[in-house]
């Protein structure tokens, strides 16, 4: 389908691009696929039309936003990928698995498509306060932690930690829906806007001072694309600027809150966890939101834990390839997932545990460990699993 390039060039202000190549240069998947974002931008600039269907490699982008972070002219190249995906979504040219995920989110509020009523299954019967009754901290569990058995241990551990710290917290229970971070990045802007509106209303109605998420993906969108923190959504969300004050919330990832609780002494770690641990910075937490130190502070506070760093850490952390819809699609790129390289890098440090702070990282990295037969050497654990051992 031939897209007229001018409107999108105009809307995304692609003209600022000087073709320096830093975007493609730093793109983690550029090495494995034909996706060349610089070249795509250039083609948008010089050609009057672009045949979007001829670029299935658009589904290879993980939306790690390395390109956005590094572009010297602030062109935000990944937004072009998202914009072009939007065109593909509109014309129905999307991988089936992505379509299914979107449908699930639409119908059941989560990409697995499992019934909304089962959303609190992770709590294992533990009574958790309904946030609608009012609470200080609203915990957003997120879809994958809610439904995926491997990841459910993370919100359980959080509940345990929050309770121990005496926090007044609650969840939206089965009213909670997908935050929409991946939805926007898969190009379904219509569904995303709907989620922002509905979720936003619901969250604000709770009146909590703080919103804490399990996943960095939810954290990213709530912080930057919803208008919860009192400012206008930065990345072109449905809302125009809403002033702070009424309904202004502080949006945090759980590692930030945990680091705070540890620092304030509200959490006591009584058990030793004698392991050598290396930490993988998730793209949506580290690269995009510059939160590097808090997760490390939590880990370092665990008695007996030895933290070692991978060479490619912090701003250069290698994307696990879980973002941008990649949890639900293989894209055109059937080569080895970057997660495989990443766990090898982790193993090289001599660590026994590869600590993560994101449900997607947890799943993709663990999968990579299993497939490469590294289970004896390396175990992938969420930070909260380690905290749980220490509490």
């Amino acid at each position: 389908m031939a897209l007229k390039t001018e409107p999108m060039v105009e809307q995304l202000e692609l003209m600022g691009c000087i073709q320096c190549g830093k975007c493609t240069g730093g793109c983690p998947v550029a090495r494995k696929t034909t996706l060349n974002i610089r070249s795509l931008i250039y083609n948008m600039l010089v050609e009057p039309e672009l045949d979007v269907n001829a670029h299935p490699e658009l589904w290879d982008c993980t939306c790690c936003f390395t390109c956005v972070e590094r572009c010297p002219k602030d062109v935000r190249p990944a937004e072009l990928v998202i914009g072009l995906r939007g065109q593909l979504v509109e014309s129905g040219h999307i991988p089936d698995t992505i379509g299914a995920a979107l449908t699930g989110i639409f119908r059941q509020g989560n990409p697995t498509g499992i019934a909304r009523e089962d959303r609190m299954g992770w709590a294992n019967g533990t009574q958790i306060k309904a946030a609608q009754e009012g609470c200080e901290v609203l915990l957003h569990v997120c879809c994958t932690p809610a439904y995926d058995p491997r990841v459910q241990v993370v919100p359980r551990a959080l509940v345990k930690a929050f309770t121990a710290a005496g926090l007044d917290f609650g969840t939206l229970g089965t009213d909670e829906s997908c935050c929409g971070n991946e939805v926007r990045r898969m190009g379904e802007s219509g569904l995303f806007e709907m989620l922002v509106e509905e979720n936003g209303e619901l969250i604000r109605s709770v009146g909590a001072g703080r919103l804490v998420t399990v996943s960095p993906h939810c954290f990213n969108t709530f912080k930057n694309e919803y208008s919860l923190s009192g400012g206008a959504g930065e990345q072109g969300s449905g809302r125009a600027g809403e002033q702070g004050g009424r309904g202004a919330m502080e949006v945090l990832h759980y590692t930030q809150l945990m680091a705070e609780l540890v620092e304030q002494g509200r959490l006591k770690f009584s058990n030793e966890v004698k392991k050598t641990v290396t930490y993988h910075d998730p793209c949506f937490l580290g690269k995009q939101n510059h939160i590097f130190d808090e997760p490390r502070a939590v880990l370092k506070a665990i008695p007996g834990l030895k933290l070692v760093e991978m060479d490619r850490n912090r701003e250069r952390s290698l994307c696990c390839e879980g973002g941008g819809g990649r949890m639900w699609a293989e894209g055109t790129n059937l080569q080895e997932r970057l997660a495989f390289q990443r766990v090898r890098e982790a193993a090289e440090t001599g660590a026994e545990v590869l600590a993560v702070a994101c449900p997607f990282c947890l799943l993709t990295l663990e999968d990579a460990v299993k497939v490469q037969g590294l289970d004896e050497k390396l175990r992938v654990m969420d930070i909260m699993e380690l905290v749980d051992l220490a509490l």
Partner: protein, 466 residues
């Protein structure tokens, strides 16, 4: 002018010469500013807007021109040339003054009577038939003329190369110009005047020329009317220019405009021929071979500015700039480049190879090195950023003053890092583009630097004489 103080001679009345003159005169020394054309202003007067501020060039220049025209310490000698310079005699360890002869060419107009009213030009038999050099041949004027309306001094001059009387001995039955002049200022008996001056310091500010684009026939200049040079575009774009600022080509507003940079600059393919010409002869004559090895420094910025002007005046036009590098190095330049790109000027990397016609359009052929393939871009207007070259009369000026030239043909400074304005001749200083291509801010700084050097000499001489 207080002639008890030693004077300075400034050769060239462009912005460089004007700035140097003003600095020296403001410090209290008498200055002779000699300019070959009938008015000061030089190249800057030809420009439309200047980068990156988009100030109107005439607006920022004319106050300085006016200053120079009325400064109590400056004697403005326009339509004049320096014909000889005798080096100062040495004696008692002191250096004396340069003895200079200036030839004031006859305007055939008495400047004391002329009010600049323009009736003569309106009446002239050659009206509308003489190509105007100031307007780069885009407009026509009369045989009696002022180069541009804000000329300083605003006095008319008869062009002896086209005036019917001066070339053929007769202009019909009567001099139409004389008849029209209410002040009786026209005087064909006027003779040239040789003026003898003694000066303590000389500043050379003779400026630059531009490469003749016909030396690059592959771009079709002179063959296709839609191909023009950057300076011609300045005149077209100028509100006081021949089209009142309307960008019109072949009677139509162009829909596709293509700018080609580095036309003649950064070229080495004629090295062997240059070497064969012999070193001395090669200086400045490189330009005659159609290419110079150096960068002309200002074209990247003025092309960005031109593109901006086109987008401003013709919002529907598509504008493309072909480039090798974008040299936006000065204060505010990179930001200006960013701005121009956001105004939908498309930068395509690749130096075009040729321009040819296809129907009623031109086609610019290049490789787009970002796409990695050849492209053809249609154009209604092609603007060539031609190389800045040393003036063709460099050998004569060199000989006049004993100046050396660098391998690129411009005047040689005493040391490329630490002495950018001192020539190799004591007491003679260089200002502006005659020493190498520069933009206006760098030219002004350079000219002030030359003034500083000159002031030192003049103050010293004042002390010695007292």
């Amino acid at each position: 002018m207080d002639l008890s103080k030693p004077a300075a001679l400034i050769i060239g009345g462009g912005i460089a010469g004007i700035q140097a003159a003003l600095d020296i005169a403001d410090a209290g020394f008498p200055v002779y500013l000699v300019e070959r054309e009938p008015s000061v202003g030089g190249r800057m007067a030809q420009l439309d807007k200047t980068f990156p501020t988009l100030d109107c060039s005439a607006c920022i220049l004319t106050p300085k021109m006016v200053d120079v025209g009325r400064h109590p310490n400056i004697e403005l000698m326009t339509y004049s040339e320096v014909v000889s310079v005798a080096p100062p005699p040495e004696g008692n360890g002191k250096r004396g003054m340069f003895r200079v002869q200036v030839r004031k060419a006859p305007r055939y107009v008495d400047v004391n009577k002329c009010t600049g009213c323009g009736s003569c030009a309106a009446a002239c038999r050659m009206k509308g038939r003489v190509l105007s050099k100031f307007d780069e041949g885009i407009a026509k004027r009369s045989a009696i003329y002022v180069p541009f309306p804000q000329a300083v001094p605003l006095k008319y001059t008869v062009d002896p190369t086209v005036c019917l009387f001066l070339t053929r001995g007769t202009c019909g039955k009567t001099f139409l110009c004389k008849d029209a002049c209410p002040a009786g200022a026209i005087d064909f008996e006027q003779q040239e005047e040789i003026v003898d001056l003694e000066v303590g310091a000389i500043v050379v500010a003779t400026g630059f020329d531009l490469l003749d684009p016909r030396l690059k026939p592959e771009f079709g200049y002179g063959v296709y009317p839609e191909v023009m040079t950057g300076i011609e575009f300045e005149r077209l774009s100028s509100a006081s220019g021949p089209t009142m600022g309307k960008v019109v080509v072949n009677g139509k507003e162009p829909k596709d405009v293509v700018f080609i940079k580095c036309v003649g600059s950064r070229e080495r393919q004629r090295r062997r021929e240059q070497a064969a010409l012999g070193e001395q002869a090669a200086l400045g004559e490189q330009a005659a071979l159609g290419g110079v090895p150096y960068c002309s420094r200002v074209c990247c910025m003025y092309t960005a500015k031109h593109a901006h002007l086109v987008r401003d005046k013709l919002p529907d036009a598509r504008v493309t700039i072909f480039y090798m590098d974008v040299r936006a190095f000065g204060k505010g330049y990179e930001e200006f480049y960013d701005r121009v790109k956001h105004e939908h000027v498309l930068y395509r990397r690749g130096e075009p190879s040729e321009v040819y016609r296809r129907g009623d359009k031109l086609v610019v052929q290049a490789e787009d090195t970002m796409l990695g393939k050849p492209v053809e871009v249609e154009a209604d207007l092609v603007v060539l950023a031609t190389a800045i070259t040393p003036r063709t009369d460099m050998p004569q000026v060199s000989a006049l003053l004993g100046l050396e030239r660098s391998p690129d043909g411009f005047f040689q400074e005493a040391h490329p890092k630490l002495r950018p304005v001192d020539s190799l001749v004591d007491g003679v200083f260089l200002a502006g583009c005659c020493q190498g291509p520069k933009d206006i801010p760098d030219t002004v700084a350079h000219a002030k630097a030359a003034a500083s050097s000159a002031l030192r000499v003049l103050v010293q001489q004042t002390r010695e004489n007292s």
